[in-house]
């Protein structure tokens, strides 16, 4: 579906633990174009507040949740100048939305276990994937491997529990799940599956070092893996050429916003 740009209204700004917050927005393109309601897990929107001329470009956020009535939400954390301003948004403030953008994660396939690997602000597309799978009655095919700095860094766990998605947690300080990076138990899971001949695939979104570890694991064990990447974006719809992703293939680069943000582990040209 072609992306559109429209003004949305903030309907809620909910604080989670760990500095995360969920921004709920409501709005529809007025020209009858496609709406964010049609977004799929892994797709994203570009959001920009009333930022005057200091911050020019919108910021990219994975869609966390969509309602058929045109409400949708994103989950984020205050890192820099844009997200810090977004943290202060109150109901009825407005934002310019462009979306839905990008290509989604693949849906679950019969007979293949989908292992979701999430960290930090990488959770939203995987949360959306699980919600969607639950709605389709295939959530039991999914597992979540979720890592964070500490217990507070792991959010929305109840949702996964409610959808009957098994989850394995890991924190760097050991305050929840195993201590260390989540890619350690994940490595065991992958090796075990390969040994047993179980069909699995990996869907990952999170900090770059986590994605690099997932990619390595996937290549080593010859397991299909999709990585949802974050590159600096100016436009989000394929015109600035700023969001290049180095790939193997006929061209040295593809574009995070239009070819991604979901790429296969094999195609990404990382060291």
């Amino acid at each position: 579906m072609a992306p559109t740009q429209f003004i949305a209204r903030v309907t809620a700004n909910r604080r989670l633990t760990g500095g995360y917050f969920i921004l709920e927005l409501s709005g529809q393109p007025t020209d009858g174009g496609g709406s964010v309601a049609a977004a799929e897990p892994g797709q994203f929107v570009m959001l920009r507040g009333e930022w005057g001329r200091e911050l020019l470009n919108p910021r990219a956020f994975s869609v966390l949740h969509v309602d058929p009535d045109g409400c949708f939400s994103v989950m984020l954390k205050a890192y820099g100048r844009g997200t810090t301003r977004m943290k202060a948004l109150r109901p009825d403030d407005s934002m310019t939305v462009t979306g839905p953008l990008g290509r989604p994660f693949p849906g679950p396939r019969p007979g293949v276990a989908q292992i979701l690997v999430a960290g930090g602000v990488g959770l939203p597309p995987l949360h959306f994937q699980a919600r969607r799978a639950h709605a389709l009655g295939v959530a039991t095919q999914l597992e979540l491997y979720y890592g964070g700095r500490d217990r507070d860094d792991l959010v929305l766990l109840d949702d996964f529990a409610g959808w009957d998605v098994r989850h394995v947690l890991a924190t760097e300080d050991g305050s929840a799940g195993t201590k260390g990076f989540v890619t350690v138990p994940l490595a065991g899971r992958v090796a075990d599956a390969r040994a047993r001949g179980e069909a699995i695939e990996l869907l990952a979104c999170g900090p770059t070092p986590m994605l690099a570890a997932v990619r390595k694991l996937a290549l080593e064990h010859d397991v299909d893996a999709w990585l949802c990447l974050e590159e600096q974006m100016a436009c989000g719809f394929g015109v600035c050429l700023g969001c290049a992703v180095p790939v193997h293939g006929p061209q040295p680069y593809r574009y995070c916003c239009t070819d991604g943000p979901v790429f296969t582990a094999k195609e990404v040209r990382w060291p």
Partner: protein
């Protein structure tokens, strides 16, 4: 201490935005800028391309070029840095895959082009001429590539070199050549004069200022090539100054003004400084309809200020009246 000119507002409907650039008629003075509009297609999702006066394509080289390593962009205060690396599909693919759609819109098609060396520029002009002829309205020659490695810098900063390059390209094509100048020079006027004398039909002012940003946490530059091109509202004062300098000093050289235009008021400032038309660049990223919004605001503002035509706006700048004379006491 100076009163406003008594202006009589007029209806937006009677504001006549038709104008021309060199001998080229334009439906109105707002185009989209090179590198900020790709080859146009993606924008069709957001607007009717035919509502634009025209657009300048991403810079085309004789052969396709991959881009630079990443990161390629970052934001700065009221601006952004880019180092895309002049990635493009090359002249042949452009002519085959991109131009027909643009031509079909009936708008002014400016093909921004460059070469990796002197011969490459001439070759590109020749290829585009041969492949399109009347299908291209302007060849916008980008001699301000901060991202080409060797020699490239002199095309845009040494008047004699720019003169020679311009002349060679002018002779290689029947399409009017508009030279896009870099602001990274001490004297923009001598550059404009040099390319005019070489046969340029006009100049585009300005390309990006060369800049840098550092991520203190990684201790690395924020873009992979260390330096990149600064665009956006931050550079508008420099762009306006250069447009005004050239308009003053080189009267018969049409200027297409750009640099930080995000509103109709910005566009009107450029017209008043002496530009015949303007291009909207970086603003397209945040607002794909930016050029049309600038146009609508320009029309409304001209109406409010009683400016009926683009010609009335261009160069209508008045000097600030002198102060009453001061005499030291006791004289």
């Amino acid at each position: 201490m100076t009163a406003l000119p008594r202006t009589v507002p007029i209806s937006p409907d009677v504001v006549d935005l038709r104008c021309s650039f060199a001998s080229l008629p334009l439906r109105h003075p707002v185009l989209a800028a090179s590198g900020c509009f790709a080859y146009g297609q993606q924008f069709a999702d957001f607007l009717d391309l035919r509502a634009l006066a025209g657009l300048s394509t991403k810079g085309i080289s004789p052969r396709p070029r991959p881009g630079n390593p990443l990161p390629r962009i970052c934001e700065t205060a009221s601006g952004m840095l880019n180092s895309i690396g002049l990635e493009n599909v090359g002249a042949a693919a452009f002519l085959r895959d991109k131009l027909p759609m643009l031509r079909a819109q009936g708008i002014s098609v400016w093909v921004n082009f460059f070469g990796e060396d002197f011969a490459g520029y001439v070759e590109c002009a020749r290829l585009l001429d041969a492949g399109a002829g009347a299908g291209i309205d302007v060849l916008e020659m980008n001699i301000s590539c901060p991202n080409i490695k060797k020699g490239g810098i002199e095309f845009g900063t040494v008047p004699e070199v720019a003169h020679r390059l311009t002349r060679a390209c002018v002779e290689a094509t029947r399409i009017p050549i508009v030279v896009k100048l870099t602001p990274n020079v001490a004297d923009i006027v001598e550059m404009a004069r040099a390319v005019k004398e070489a046969g340029a039909a006009g100049v585009s002012l300005i390309n990006t200022l060369t800049g840098m940003a550092i991520d203190v946490r990684t201790r690395m530059p924020r873009i992979a090539t260390t330096y990149g091109g600064l665009s956006g509202p931050a550079i508008k004062p420099v762009a306006l100054r250069m447009v005004h300098q050239v308009a003053r000093a080189v009267p018969d050289l049409p200027i297409c003004g750009m640099g930080g235009i995000v509103s109709g008021e910005d566009a009107l400032e450029f017209l008043m400084a002496g530009a015949a038309c303007v291009q909207v660049g970086t603003a397209n990223f945040a607002r794909p309809r930016a050029a049309l919004e600038v146009l609508a605001e320009l029309r409304a503002l001209m109406a409010e200020l009683g400016i009926a035509t683009v010609g009335e706006a261009t160069g209508c700048l008045r000097a600030i009246p002198p102060e009453a004379p001061w005499e030291p006491p006791g004289n």
